[in-house]
Amino acid sequence: MAVTHSTASRDLATNAVVDQLDGAGSKLCFRITGSTIGAPSAIAATLTFATPAFGASSSGTATAGAIASDTNATGNAGAVAFASLQTSANVLAIHCAVAASGSDIDMSNGLTVASGDTVSCSALTYTALSA
């Protein structure tokens, strides 16, 4: 039987997750394939959240504030396949795949970040309990 969460409950869940990123220096990291939350893969780019990182959840979704660009990305020959949202102490709060394995996005001008590229994020939202 499916469980239905009220909007208030969804806001509580989302806020509980993103509040872990309230400290200064929390980061959005883009990682290559093979990443897990327990053993995250190499980082291709690191962007820094504002403090706090997110505003309060509304309708179950929290929106990030301004995110500082990585103007000199580390880069990697492998394409970005995962993203992690983590504290300044590198404690991962959220870890997710951002592309299906073996997809056609992995091409020369696709989601591969080269050394020295600038990576920016103009919008980011998180929903803990999506429909």
Partner: protein, 70 residues
């Protein structure tokens, strides 16, 4: 306590990569899911749109829509 793996959540982001070599800006709309296996299970697709300034109209879990601005 174990990490929760498989809970339904969603991360959406719009990122821009400015290529150092060419100055070209590539824009991607990302929808994050938990693992590639789950993306496959959800029927995830990946599209790559080379058209200038055209954004994908329909996206689903695990979908990555990219738009190259040249």
């Amino acid at each position: 306590m174990s990490d929760i793996i498989g809970a339904v959540g969603e991360l959406r982001a719009t990122i821009h990569i400015t290529r150092k070599a060419t100055g070209v800006v590539d824009t991607f709309e990302l929808i994050g899911v938990l693992t590639p296996e789950q993306a496959t299970a959800l029927g995830a697709t990946v599209r790559h749109n080379r058209n200038h300034g055209v954004r994908g109209a329909v996206v689903g879990p695990g979908t990555v829509v990219s738009n190259q601005e040249k």
